[in-house]
């Protein structure tokens, strides 16, 4: 049990309380040291299970670690470090503590050796992330409630699945699950809600961009990537995931191409990137699973970098629409350069982190001779450059001169961006340390002449397509309807209509029933009311008398 005191997730979650209470330098110091402490604890734990708790006859293992959980735990802790540094100036006093609970719970998921601990951390993440969204701008409350509803639905699916699995005699330990029972399908469905899979992908671009300029940086990292982690562990090689992932990839690209809000572009691109990981998990070979895990690691860093860049623009200008932005490279050079590094990394340019991770997934598809999957992945790689790699920096930092001349953000935000930009390039130039963290032995050389040349051809000619077809990509003041339309427009309308007709029905039923009820009530009052027969009191003496008579009767019967 004492091992639990050194649980990285517990340290972060308890630390969140201290962050909420403290002020000034003590708070800033804690925000930076807590993730470092979590990293230290994570790396000082040897592989294996370090704590057992008996609960309702179940053997819970809240602290189990292996290579895969260490990889995800590490990148989550790094994310909290940079995100905390970036968000130090946030006026909201709730957001950072909520983000630390959220990130701590995400690490809790990666260290959960059993399904019950996993579920508890899963729900804690839902609460933490909802509060993070909640502390955003004015429209954020409604969005956060829609977000919470979807995630509670996912939680119910997961809980039902876990209960069914355990009731059928399954072990509560979290291991690979086969899709042979309804319970396991429910667990998969619960995981898929959080990964942003269809048909509910819309929760992500609906809610995340409503968070504050710093809040979305945290949101981009934890929910979808813990879902990738649990799919990697629970459902590797499930073929269905290949198709779900491909859908997510193209859904993300097409919607991002139509989008005008810079952070919604990046939100759609989260679904797109997670789609690559889901395809890798579905392919299920060691190369593909390594690729999915590596891509989760690099993606967290470059997507956070992109969102820090967008968040800086939002903080310094107060604007989020591409139609209002443009030309900011003049006065925000650090933000622009860091944004471009993130954009190159998400596009998998050689010498950036995306190049050394995403290509493993394509390679796995080629190794398995899956031509159509491979072609789709190649088209998608071109599309990523199109919708995120060029579109985001072009419309925000170049495009036209919007006349805005905001300065770069404060030093701590610049430092956080530079830290992640250095990581994006560092991992791309020297992928060795990342490859050493991957769950399976790796035999992959990203930098071959053919790979570099073909990737450059793919990306640069996509760039050509972007600039040739720029007229077709002109931004308009529009949004694009998505599945969330169903629960934002028709369903509430149906509910309102139903409640209106329910009220009418209730009135007419009431008119018929109320007089009868009143009669019955009056009769009851006559019998049981203050003056009623049943409510009459009896003196203690008669009570004693009756008791004596009964005891005598008993005595008599006993002797008979």
């Amino acid at each position: 049990m004492t091992a639990l005191l050194a649980h990285p997730a517990l340290v972060l979650i308890l630390g969140a309380v201290a962050i909420a209470v403290l002020r000034g330098h003590a708070r800033s110091g804690l925000v930076v040291t807590l993730p470092l402490l979590a990293l230290y604890l994570l790396w000082s734990l040897p592989d294996g299970t370090h704590a057992h708790i008996r609960f309702l006859e179940l053997d819970l293992q809240p602290l189990a670690i292996d290579k895969l959980s260490r990889l995800f735990g590490t990148v989550f802790a790094i994310m909290l470090l940079a995100g905390g540094l970036f968000g130090l100036n946030q006026q909201s006093r709730v957001e950072l503590p909520a983000a630390f609970v959220y990130g701590g719970a995400a690490i809790g998921v990666t260290l959960a050796g059993d399904l019950v601990t996993l579920f508890v951390c899963w729900e804690l993440m839902a609460i933490g992330s909802t509060v993070v969204i909640w502390s955003g701008a004015a429209g954020a409350y409604r969005a956060s409630m829609r977000y919470l509803s979807i995630h509670l639905l996912g939680g119910v699916l997961l809980m039902a699945g876990i209960a069914g699995h355990v009731a059928a005699g399954g072990s509560v330990a979290f291991d690979r699950l086969s899709l042979d029972s309804a319970a396991h399908w429910l667990i998969l469905a619960g995981f898929l809600v959080n990964v942003g899979a269809p048909p509910l992908s819309a929760w992500l671009p609906d809610a995340y961009p409503e968070a504050s300029w710093s809040g979305m940086v945290f949101l981009s990292a934890f929910t979808t990537k813990t879902a990738v982690y649990v799919l990697l562990r629970g459902f590797p090689g499930v073929e269905l995931l290949v198709y779900i992932g491909l859908f997510m990839i193209f859904y993300g690209i097409v919607y991002a191409l139509l989008e005008n809000d810079m952070r919604r572009i990046l939100a759609y691109s989260i679904v797109n990137q997670v789609g690559f990981m889901v395809v890798g998990i579905g392919l299920g070979t060691q190369m593909a699973l390594n690729g999915a895990a590596a891509h989760a690691f690099t993606h967290i860093i470059y997507k956070a970098l992109l969102l820090m860049s967008a968040g800086s623009v939002l903080l310094m200008t107060g604007r989020r629409k591409c139609t209002d932005l443009g030309g900011l490279f003049r006065s925000m050079p650090v933000t622009a350069v860091c944004g471009i590094v993130g954009a190159l990394a998400i596009s998998s340019f050689p010498l950036t982190s995306g190049f050394v991770s995403k290509s493993m997934i394509s390679q796995a598809a080629a190794d398995e001779h899956l031509l159509y999957v491979w072609l789709a992945l190649a088209a998608a790689s071109a599309g990523v450059f199109l919708h995120a790699g060029i579109k985001f920096p072009w419309f925000v930092f170049f495009q036209k001169d919007s006349g805005l001349r905001p300065p770069d953000p404060p030093w701590n935000m610049r430092l956080a961006m530079i830290f992640f930009a250095v990581l994006c390039i560092g991992l791309g130039v020297a992928p060795g340390p990342l490859y050493a963290l991957l769950p399976y032995p790796i035999d992959y050389v990203p930098y071959t002449a053919a790979h570099v040349v073909t990737q450059l051809q793919l990306l640069l000619f996509s760039g050509l397509a972007f600039f040739v077809m720029l007229g077709l990509l002109r931004r308009t003041l529009t949004i694009t309807l998505d599945v969330d339309w169903l629960y934002r427009v028709p369903l509430p309308a149906i509910a309102r209509a139903l409640s209106r007709s329910w009220a009418t029905a209730a009135r007419s039923v009431g008119a018929a029933v109320v007089p009868r009820l009143r009669d019955t009530g009056a009769r009851f009052y006559r019998e049981h009311g203050l003056e009623g027969l049943a409510a009459r009191t009896s003196p203690t003496g008669s009570m004693a008398l009756w008791l004596m008579i009964m005891l005598l009767a008993y005595l008599l019967l006993y002797y008979l």
């Binding site: 097409v254 809000d261 088209a379 790689s381 071109a382 053919a450 051809q457 000619f461």
Partner: protein
């Protein structure tokens, strides 16, 4: 106001010229690297170049078509909620 050097028409012309030279260079490089193509189609000349370009054109086309049906003014939800 003095235009930033990066957005002057002369610079943009030079940038386009440089871009086209780089594109040509990636095509030329194809002649000097040995391919280990997994699929027949990958062995066609400059496969990644034309495939990337056409994929992007197709994606933009699909997005435009979808936009025709699903685009709404960005105050759509505020007017309804």
């Amino acid at each position: 106001m003095e235009q930033h050097w990066l957005v002057r028409p002369a610079t943009i012309r030079k940038l386009w010229l440089g871009f086209i030279l780089i594109l040509a260079a990636t095509l030329a490089a194809e002649l000097f690297v040995s391919h280990d193509a997994h699929f027949g189609i990958e062995a066609s000349f400059a496969f990644h170049a034309w495939y990337g370009f056409l994929s992007c054109a197709a994606l933009i086309g699909v997005a435009r078509l979808l936009g025709l049906i699903l685009k709404r003014r960005d105050s759509y939800y505020e007017e309804r909620e």
